[in-house]
Amino acid sequence: MKQTERYLRQATRGLWGRARRDLQTELQGHVNERIQEFRLGGMSAEEAERQALRELGTPERVRSGMLGVHTFPALGKAGALSLLLATTLLTALPQSLAQVKGIYTTNTSTGPASYLNLEQLKAELMKVGGKISSQDANAVITLPGAARPPLPLNSYGFPSPILSKDNVIYIQTEALLYALQNTGLDIRVKGWENPVLMAGQSSIRIKTDDWQVANNLYAATVQTYNSRLWSGLKIPFSLIEPDSLGGNTSLKGQFKQGKIYALVSPKVIHWTGTDEDGKFTSGDLNIVTTVSQAQAGSVQFHVLYGFKDFKLYPSLDAFQAALKPSLDPTKLPYWDADHPRPALILELSGHFGDDAYTVVNPNTIHIK
């Protein structure tokens, strides 16, 4: 069944999490059924498998069709790109720029988010044979080796992914990630200080003195693209106001030097919104993801002021089960030493995909 496995991998590349697993199971079921039918007709196992796969058509065709259906968690309607973008794209760019400046800020269009200097991003992309093109709301990023046509930058949910600050134009990092993700390229974040965003063979080196930029990038690997964390309870991920995580908490344990870890925990904040079906929905909990790079044997996370009394769970399911009682709309959740706040520690791979995180066993962790 090597052929089938390869086929399934290729046909579902670019999809993540449950969508990918479900489609693989569905196609595998189709192939298995067909193989049985062919075998009853007297074909050999190998011939039956080949014939079943041949009927399915090329994996590329299945995949390109599927990527058009499954995008990422519903994030609202796309807005129009600012005219400022068009102006910037027409500007000649210096070739010598080596890195892309990243900032973390908030504005009325996106709320708190990280941003990258657009001019520098364009220069960095040009060096690897890619480009940001077009002069209208459908500006797209092209990168070498992409399997499918790029998506416009404004496909991401917020009203505008463009920010002008101190006469510099920035693009929202998550809008860039979203567009890159849709090219089918393998996307990965590496490093912590001045992190590097890899897309296929291309790399975008980010320069920043704000830890929240890297925090935002790594949080995206578990939040935006890996819906299992999110879908179990339908609790939204918190948008973190700049410098709002003013406390810190230290953990000791089997943490590996230089590895990236995340602390995932709920906070109480009333929210309203629309779900994937467009229905009104609301709640009193958000999930906060805060990310940090470990020293050997310890890691320190930025947390909300007053964050204490938490209990670590060994799996996503256990964490979600512990949160369930807090979803009762008739009473606000309250955490103290007797009722500790549920939390997870994740080890992050930096890869956008099913292997974005593994839950760290609480038995290996000592809370300072």
Partner: protein, 119 residues
């Protein structure tokens, strides 16, 4: 003389009416992908030969639109899990609307042929 299957429709024509075809087949008993593609063929004497590569994306699109829902069940022969699709209430309405649209379109087009002398 045995009846030979009619020539397959033009690819664009098929693509344009894929949703209508799929909703029409799924109507009634819940079915999984392989059954759907087989019925498309068998019930039309081979006229609708749906490429499986476009069948599954189309099914997922219909599900996302809320016209069908799906669940995994065990397949009869292989015992593997297969995803079974059922028409939802809104899918039933959609089918009705599209069917009427198609009939009207086809009738109106017929009038043009009559006027033009094509019978």
């Amino acid at each position: 003389m045995p009846s030979s299957p009619p020539d397959s429709p033009d690819a664009n024509l098929l693509r344009g009416h894929l949703d209508l075809i799929l909703l029409s087949i799924i109507q009634g008993e819940p079915k999984y992908g392989l059954e759907i593609s087989k019925q498309a063929q068998s019930r039309t004497d081979g006229y609708f030969d749906l490429r499986v590569g476009s069948l599954y994306p189309a099914l997922h699109r219909l599900e996302k639109a809320g016209f069908v829902r799906s669940e995994f069940q065990t397949a009869p022969r292989s015992g593997s899990p297969v995803k079974v699709y059922t028409l939802t209430e809104s899918g039933g309405k959609e089918l009705e609307v599209r069917r009427r649209e198609f009939e009207t379109f086809s009738q109106q087009l017929g009038k043009l042929w009559q006027l033009g002398g094509i019978q």
